[in-house]
Symmetry: C2
């Protein structure tokens, strides 16, 4: 038991580093960039609050567990901004190696369970994973609307880009949220085009 606990605490100490992985997105008050640990906390709150937007076959408790661990691989692989230019195959390989190392710190049974949950999230096929991916895409547009454009301005993003990269996953997981959000996004980009 003591060895098991020591391995678990070693993993939890390693996880502390996620607080130092910076995302492109900024806090709502524009004071600084957001890190992946606090982002993970925030989207779990999004998932719990917006649970009534999920389909009937979604388990919010499983979604919360997925979101809790979904970014841990960034400790080794870093964060790939959604609107940045990324070699997706290379990134996937880096993330798989990170999952191997990080979940490998845990006792074998637990490491395998965490890895299976992370693989399910990444594959984005089950109802739980589809809703989790939807929620993961939602927080940054809300922040960008609040702070004058944020990463959209930085990466020169247009409404067609958003329809593809944000609208598709959000609409797939929670069509009601996308129907509510999209008019606000088009209004923002129309205002921005008028300068």
């Amino acid at each position: 038991m003591s060895d098991r606990l020591s391995a678990q605490i070693a993993f939890l100490k390693e996880a502390d580093q996620l607080k130092s992985v910076l995302r492109a997105s900024r806090l709502l008050d524009d004071s600084r960039r957001e890190n992946s640990a606090e982002h993970s906390w925030h989207i779990m709150l999004y998932a719990l609050v917006l649970a009534d937007q999920a389909g009937p076959d979604v388990s919010i408790d499983r979604v919360l567990r997925m979101l809790l661990i979904h970014d841990l691989v960034e400790i080794d692989a870093g964060d790939a901004p959604i609107h940045g230019e990324v070699d997706h195959a290379a990134m996937a390989a880096k993330e798989a190696a990170a999952a191997e190392r990080l979940f490998g710190l845990l006792p074998a049974d637990q490491g395998a369970a965490f890895r299976a949950l992370w693989d399910e999230f990444e594959a984005a096929e089950t109802p739980d994973a589809v809703f989790a991916k939807c929620i993961d895409r939602l927080q940054t547009p809300i922040a960008n609307l609040a702070n004058g454009g944020g990463t959209w301005t930085q990466f020169g993003v247009s409404m067609p880009d958003l329809d593809l990269r944000v609208g598709r996953p959000i609409g797939r997981g929670a069509p009601g949220i996308w129907a509510w959000l999209r008019p606000q996004l088009t209004a923002f980009f129309e205002r921005a085009a008028k300068g």
Copy 2:
């Protein structure tokens, strides 16, 4: 539905401020103070990983939900360091007012459910709340052991202080963890006493 969603998103935007509430505790690499949002994420990971230390009547999913929302009141009330001098009655009143305002931003049914969960956590009586409180106390000692004393040095904390403020809640929720941790703490304070 649209009004409900707008209220939910307003709450989620307000919650962003938890990323700017600083705790006394520091990151494991001692680079900066920790904020309450990333702390909340980290202790949820602690709860999930250490679930096998909880009693058989503990629901880890309910514990995760409690830990997700447990620090939101700090947006208005600030963080009270466990080893600092605090007027507990005044702090409890500030936190209750914060809960009223923040959970009051949500649709009424949801606000009431979140408030009931937070009240349960604060009361620390149910098995879920007892385990959640135990986990909330565990992360800082692990960080302090890793970074040479941290808040113990800052606040002049002794082993009897720790037995009372940390040992009691941890031992109540997970005696196996306290039996594993306490010898490490006593060894640390013995080394520190020798200078």
